[in-house]
Point group: C2
Chain length 636, copies 2
Amino acid sequence: MANSPFIKDVPAARAMQAWRAARDAAGCPARLPAVLVPVADAAGLVTAGPVWATRSSPPFDAAGMDGIAVRAADTLGATETTPVRLAADAYDVVDTGDPMPAGRDAVVMREHVHYAGLAAELRAAVPPYQHVRSIGEDVSAGELLLPAGHRLRAADIAAAAAAGAIELLVRRRPVVTILPTGDEVRPIGSQPGPGEILDTNSVMLATQAREAGCDARCLPVEPDSPDRIASVVKAAVADCDLLIIVAGSSAGRDDYTARVVAELGILAVHGVAVRPGHPVVLGTVGQTPVLGAPGYPVSAALTFDIFAEPLLAELAGAPPRTRPRVSARLARKLASPLGMDDWVRVRLGVVAGTTVASPLPRGAGVLTSLVRADGLLVVPAGQEGHHAGEHVEVELLRGIDEIAHTIVAIGSHDLVLDLAASALRADDPIVTLASSNVGSLGGLVALRDGLCHLAGSHLLDPASGEYTLPYVDRVLAGTEVSVVRLVHRDQGLIVAPGNPLGLAGIADLARPGVRYVNRQRGAGTRVLLDYELGRLGISPDAVSGYAREEPTHLAVAAAIAAGRCDAGLGILAAARAFGLDFVPVTQEPYDLVVAASAMDSPLLAPFWSLLRSDQFQAAVTALGGYSTKEMGRRIR
Amino acid sequence: MANSPFIKDVPAARAMQAWRAARDAAGCPARLPAVLVPVADAAGLVTAGPVWATRSSPPFDAAGMDGIAVRAADTLGATETTPVRLAADAYDVVDTGDPMPAGRDAVVMREHVHYAGLAAELRAAVPPYQHVRSIGEDVSAGELLLPAGHRLRAADIAAAAAAGAIELLVRRRPVVTILPTGDEVRPIGSQPGPGEILDTNSVMLATQAREAGCDARCLPVEPDSPDRIASVVKAAVADCDLLIIVAGSSAGRDDYTARVVAELGILAVHGVAVRPGHPVVLGTVGQTPVLGAPGYPVSAALTFDIFAEPLLAELAGAPPRTRPRVSARLARKLASPLGMDDWVRVRLGVVAGTTVASPLPRGAGVLTSLVRADGLLVVPAGQEGHHAGEHVEVELLRGIDEIAHTIVAIGSHDLVLDLAASALRADDPIVTLASSNVGSLGGLVALRDGLCHLAGSHLLDPASGEYTLPYVDRVLAGTEVSVVRLVHRDQGLIVAPGNPLGLAGIADLARPGVRYVNRQRGAGTRVLLDYELGRLGISPDAVSGYAREEPTHLAVAAAIAAGRCDAGLGILAAARAFGLDFVPVTQEPYDLVVAASAMDSPLLAPFWSLLRSDQFQAAVTALGGYSTKEMGRRIR
């Protein structure tokens, strides 16, 4: 069967149904085999049948307190004024947990016993069965302890052992095999050559499988050869419960997954209405389900969550994993294509008492969007998105307490914020400083809209030549804020090592053959460029590459290091990170604009004390191109 | 140092502080050592320093679509009517992920390319950088990828590998050693003799430690000998990061943990204001923190959660684990002692749109309360409890979706409900049938108060001789309910094998020397006993053991099997479960009273179809003493 050039958009639920149907048609087992394992080894596994207690726990009537065991009837009439004395043969000293001696039916606490020689004197009568733990108080033989389909936790294991279980009947742990493919894919740990990429998907999917309670193993990378892939697939399905073929799931020239699955087994689905994730293959080979995952890392990770995880839970007979959800206010408008479930990664923070969700970059290749995500927001296929400020439901990827301890910074990016993020957390792991990168102006707007605690800003006002404060007055008029100076930093042209084009300054950017790389609109560095170009009377049209936008200084440096561009305006530290040269243009202040409600909050206290620490200032200076002379000074 | 006979009530937070202070005084490391591990092996471990990207990802400008790579400037002016033709040397065919060829700065999707011989015809101009993934789009070299103190998940591992990490600096996995003590304690897997109990705490604590990301090992059980315990402790602390000594943490005659810790190191705390958990020992020996956990299993489990888990998180430099919380309506009044944090296990269910929390048995020995718990409710030391119906915050132990799929049954207990619970779940693991056992009358009250979906009931009306409906009219007047018959079942006297006392019926319970075991007030079986005693003109006072109450048929049978009692009224299945004899008294119906809102809900649909299934009816009949002739019949 030839590849069909275009793949379908099957809704996720229907795709899952089709996969199940293929699984049944191929005779794949609906549940994993049941096996007996020693009770101590059963943690994390799923019961394959009900667990009935075969012993009672406690297995005997037991003392519930330290004291003496008595016959309650013997204590009748005891009061402060008419104590009852029990002779030595009428009571027994017991400790908590001791079996109740024959003929005794109550315990008197040690504190309430007075001795007169060997006789025990009691100053209050006790009712029968006082401080006695009945046999079977915890569980009686014959009682249902656990149903089938229960994933065993610590207390379950202990209770099962107490109730007489020596072995438990559980589902065998599922085995997931991962087969990476692609001519350009190299194993992690190797040094990729030009045009090559590392196989990071295998270790990610294997870790996801292990987190889902499976055994996982990764096969070596196979090149884009349908015959080789087919023969490896045929061998692999014989001893796993799910085979994941990574990449090659689309319909490009070198995409063979769908074809191999169709030739060897049942191709149930090719393409699902999920973004990111679209080119997904679902099918079976032999009696094993096969998942073809896209090579884009976010797609691969979500594909596991959406399709593999429920299938594996079904095989184990366990309820599917679900994540806790919270309601959050959406930081900005979110457009979403009709016809696709859109899985949007968001950062979360609690700003002035409201949980705020800021969408992260949405590209399927931006794995850091998943690394930085606190939650997932699914915009269903039938919906075109959300307005800014709308309340949305978010699946949590991080603990809600951690989110409550997150300092939300939105605005211009600077490496000093990264350094601070790591230093804060090393000191107290609950503290997170989360920076979203939208440029200086975007940060001020976010602060105005109550979406962050602070905004990094280095906006130059062309009229006054002053930084930050004129913009604060303009954008944040009526909003109470403080402004704290973080650093001064050198801005200049980042150029290739040795400055091969001999660029001396902004004026040279208009020279023919110079390929510039710009920052996005609203970035302080772009404002600075426009200011300098204006001063020199150079039109942006004259700068080749003015339209190529990168979101950070480092991304600008990366483009230059790769030889795709010749120059970009940025900071010295970014040039240094790539071993590039730097042509200074100016020194500028970089400020933090802080919401009034956050300024003196306990949340920000560790940040302000960090800025005062000599050790931190020394670390910033060591980056190069920074001056900390005004670090932490409140300028408004 | 001698044991002090009484232990203190140190508030949990202050106890933790005292433990930390002892740890610092003893020179225990505040953090575990940092080690380099291959990136693929780092999942679940905690970063010991920031992870900076050393490579950009993607490492080159790459095609973001399948199609052709072009120079955007070459496509200027292309429209439907004025297409532009690119000669074969003016474009390159590319697949998604391919490096962008030199000189090309945009990609045209395959679907939009028309070929005229070797020339590619474009009917629309494309802007520069269209469908191009910039180098560093995901992460740029020099960027902070992860801060210190971050527990590594699947996506983190993959992103770190993509950003150039081959090894990661992480905290070594903590090692927890567990030392069980007690003369009467036998290893699990063995057959305990009279008065002996199984060491179920070690496997539970080891599992909790593993769930918290630690390596855990259990030492053999030590008898109650302070010298032996001391010498094992001295050896054990040398190669672990936390030593947990199980049992012996109180102040009884055979409790040596506090004394051993005080003699070998620092005894920081003996006794905490936490229930269950109170007799806890916190201290250090050598440079290792030591925790003395109580022997009661619920106390042991909670002690790990409250004290060990935060300490282990601190050692790893990670944020402490927190559980999601929900607000729930409390099903009944909850009294709680002042001066102790009271950790109450609750079942949760969603009844008529409200999440309802029903407290489970609170004894420290009732491990099944933890097995069955969906959540934990902490009543702080300064609070005397909660009123019924109050809204309380509950820490979730189970997924909220599972809770929403839980059928809440409160009332009389019957084994058929247990059988149904397991059958439902085997069929669909998301479905839980949770029965709380409060007797028939309690069930009707719970139903009236909107706390459950259905109530099991077998209440005999002495006036009419009719079951269930008269009580429904009385207790549930004004509440709309349905009534469904579950089974008929034999009630009789459960007696020792061979019926050694030759009991023939209820009348014999008044015979001297016969020790009865009763059910709790409001239980249908107790109503039946009272009815039969009344009919025979026997006063309850004449029945020895009338005051001994057990909450289930099985608990009654267990007490008889243990020889503590001679007879109890109950069902045949309970007698059979213990190999006991049975003297029939009567046959009675057992009904389900169902909230009107639940009767036709999707939640209960699988339950009703189960009751119709031949297979299930056969399984019930096989229990013995049941008739299914009216199973599932709606009698109102």
